[in-house]
Symmetry: C2
Subunit: 332 residues, 2 copies
C-alpha cells in the first residue's frame, strides 16, 4: 500500500518545516512565491489530501451532518434525504444517515452517534413514539444545532420545518366544494398521529364554514389494506360517495386498489383527491389523480437553508412552514 501524503512527509522531502508546508498550501501571505510553488507542485504529485479526522479533532467539529429518520424507505423521507444530501455535498459536508425504525431507543443510539462523531448539525424527524426530547436539547446545549422536520415535537423552543398540513387539507376541501361534490368519503391515517389530527381539523373546519349541505363520512385507516376495505364497504351502500379524499400517498394506494376492484370509473363514478409527497403515486394511475403536494424534496431544501443560517450565526429559534400547491390530474 502506497504511503499517505501528509504535511510531515511533504516537508521532509522539501527540507521545510511542517508549518511552512501547511501555510504554503493555505496560500498564507508570509510564504514566498517560490516556496509556495514548490510545495503546491509536490502536493499535487503526491495527491495530498488533508486528513479530515485530524481537522475534526482540532476543531471539535466535523464536516458531516447527521440525519435521523424513522425509516428511510418511506414515501416522503427519501425525497427529503435526497435533497439534503445534494446540498450538503455542494456545501462541502457529508451526510450520515441514520434510521430509528420507529424505536425511541434506537433513536437515542442515533443521537449518541451524532454526538460521538461531533457532527456539525442534526436533521431529525422523530418517531411516533418519541416522548422525551431531552437528548435533543442536550445536543443543542453541546453546540450542535438540531433542525426538526416533518415529525416534530410539540415543544416550542426549537427549530422546526414542516409542510403546511392544515393548508394542504384546506386546499383539498376547497376543490371538493368547487366541484360540487356532496357525499364525501374522507379517509385519514392513524388517528394518533398529530399529522392526522391537523389535517382532519382543517378539513372539517372548512366544511363547517363553507358547505353545510355536504355529507362527510370520516374514517381512519392505519394501513392501505384498511383503506381498500373502507372503499369496498362504502360503495356497497345505496347512497354512494361521489368523491374520496385521501390524506396521504399511503392511503391513496389502498383507495385505488378498492376503486380498481369495484371497477369504478374515475371521475365519472367517483372523484378522487389526495394529499401527496411528490406526486409519484397519484401519477401512476389513469386518469392521474388530482393532488395537493407537500414536497419532501422542497422541505429538505428549506431545512438545509435553515441549518446553514444557523451555522452562520442566526441561532434564534424559528418555525418554518412549507406551502402546499394543487396539482390537477383528471380525477375530479
Amino acid at each position: 500500500m502506497k504511503q499517505q501524503a501528509t504535511l510531515k512527509n511533504i516537508s521532509k522531502m522539501l527540507n521545510l518545516s511542517i508549518s511552512t508546508v501547511s501555510r504554503a498550501l493555505k496560500n498564507h501571505p508570509d510564504i514566498s512565491e517560490e516556496t509556495k510553488r514548490k510545495v503546491l507542485e509536490l502536493a499535487t504529485i503526491m495527491e495530498y489530501e488533508p486528513n479530515a479526522h485530524a481537522i475534526s479533532l482540532r476543531t471539535n467539529k466535523s464536516n458531516a451532518f447527521g440525519l435521523i429518520v424513522p425509516v428511510i424507505s418511506n414515501y416522503f423521507y427519501h425525497s427529503f434525504i435526497s435533497a439534503v444530501e445534494e446540498l450538503s455535498r455542494k456545501a462541502g459536508y457529508s451526510l450520515i444517515t441514520l434510521q430509528s425504525s420507529d424505536d425511541p431507543s434506537i433513536e437515542l443510539d442515533n443521537i449518541k452517534l451524532c454526538r460521538l462523531n461531533r457532527v456539525a448539525g442534526v436533521f431529525v424527524a422523530i418517531t411516533p413514539f418519541t416522548q422525551n426530547i431531552e437528548p435533543f436539547l442536550k445536543l443543542i446545549a453541546s453546540d450542535i444545532p438540531v433542525i426538526f422536520f416533518d415529525k416534530v415535537p410539540d415543544y416550542e423552543a426549537c427549530n422546526k420545518v414542516c409542510v403546511a398540513d392544515e393548508e394542504a387539507a384546506l386546499i383539498a376541501a376547497e376543490q371538493i366544494v368547487k366541484h360540487r361534490k356532496k357525499n364525501i368519503l374522507a379517509i385519514f391515517g392513524n388517528e394518533g398521529l398529530s399529522i392526522t389530527r391537523k389535517r382532519l381539523a382543517a378539513f372539517e373546519e372548512y366544511f363547517k364554514k363553507n358547505n353545510s349541505d355536504g355529507a362527510i363520512t370520516t374514517v381512519f385507516a392505519s394501513s392501505p389494506a384498511e383503506a381498500t376495505q373502507f372503499v369496498l364497504d362504502h360503495y356497497k351502500n345505496k347512497t354512494k360517495p361521489d368523491v374520496i379524499f385521501s390524506m396521504s400517498d399511503e392511503i391513496l394506494t389502498g383507495v385505488m386498489k378498492g376503486v380498481q376492484k369495484l371497477k369504478l370509473a374515475v371521475p365519472a363514478d367517483t372523484g378522487i383527491i389526495s394529499i401527496s409527497n411528490d406526486g409519484f403515486i397519484p401519477r401512476l394511475y389513469d386518469p392521474e389523480i388530482t393532488y395537493v403536494e407537500t414536497s419532501g424534496y422542497e422541505l429538505g431544501r428549506l431545512a438545509f437553508k435553515r441549518m446553514m443560517d444557523h451555522l452562520d450565526g442566526k441561532t434564534f429559534v424559528q418555525q418554518l412552514i412549507l406551502s402546499s400547491r394543487l396539482v390537477e390530474g383528471g380525477s375530479l
Copy 2:
C-alpha cells in the same frame, strides 16, 4: 455550554494519570478493582463518550462506511440503503450516504470524500456513464475495501454482489410459457444498460430453446411514458398481445397506465408479468401483478455480509449473485 468529558479531565478530578483512566474504562486486567470502580462511576456521571475523531486519527480508520449510489430516490436503492444502514448501526458503524446524480465527476468527488473520511469500506453502485474505475482501484490499494453492487463494472478483479438478472428473466419466461401465452409484448428498459442486455439475452434464449411457436415483440422504453405508448400502440393491432412482460418496476408503472387507459381486464384481456424490486409497485394494482423479485433489501444484506467478511480478512475477490423468486399475483 457544558464542558466535554475527556480522559484528561476525568483523570485530573481523580488524581490519576490519563492512561490509567483509559485502561480502567477498557477493563484492563492491570487496573485494580477499586480504581476501576471509581473511574467508571465518574465517567458515567460525566457521560463520558470517547471522541470518535481522536480514535480515527490514531487508527487511520473510521467507524463509518461510505455508500455511493447514482440516486437515492430510486425503486431499488433505498431498500438497499435501508438494509445497509440497519446492519451497519448494529455493527457499530455509521453510514455516510452519497449520491452521484448519474454524474461521473460527482462520483469522483464522492470517492474522494470517502478517502478523506478514511471510511472503513465503500459500497458503490456506479453511474451508467462511469468509464474509468481507476479511482475505485486506488481506494482498494489504500486499504479501503470496495464492494460493488447492482450496477457493477465489467472489470473482473473486484468484489461484486448482484441480483440474478438472467435468472429473473428466465423465471418470467418460464411462467409465460407455462400459462401458454403465445403473443408476447416484452418491454425492456434503456438498451444501453448492461442490466437490459442481460435480461434480454436470457429471456430470448429461453424462448429459443423452449417455445418456438410463441411470437415475441421486443421493445425498449427509456421512460414509463414510452412504455405506456408501446402498450397503446400494440393493442390497436388486429393481433393483440396476450401477455406483457415488463423488465422493471419503472416500466411496469408505464405499462399499467396504458392498461388502465385501454380499460383492459387483467388477466382476461391480457396477462402481465414483471420483474420488481420489493413488489411494492406490483402490489399497487388489482389484481396484484405476478412478479419476479430481485430484492434490494436482500442485496443490501448480502453486500454487508461480504464487507464484514472482507474486514475479517477474507479479502479474496468474490462475485455473489442473489437469487430471484417468483411471487404470484393474479395477473397471469
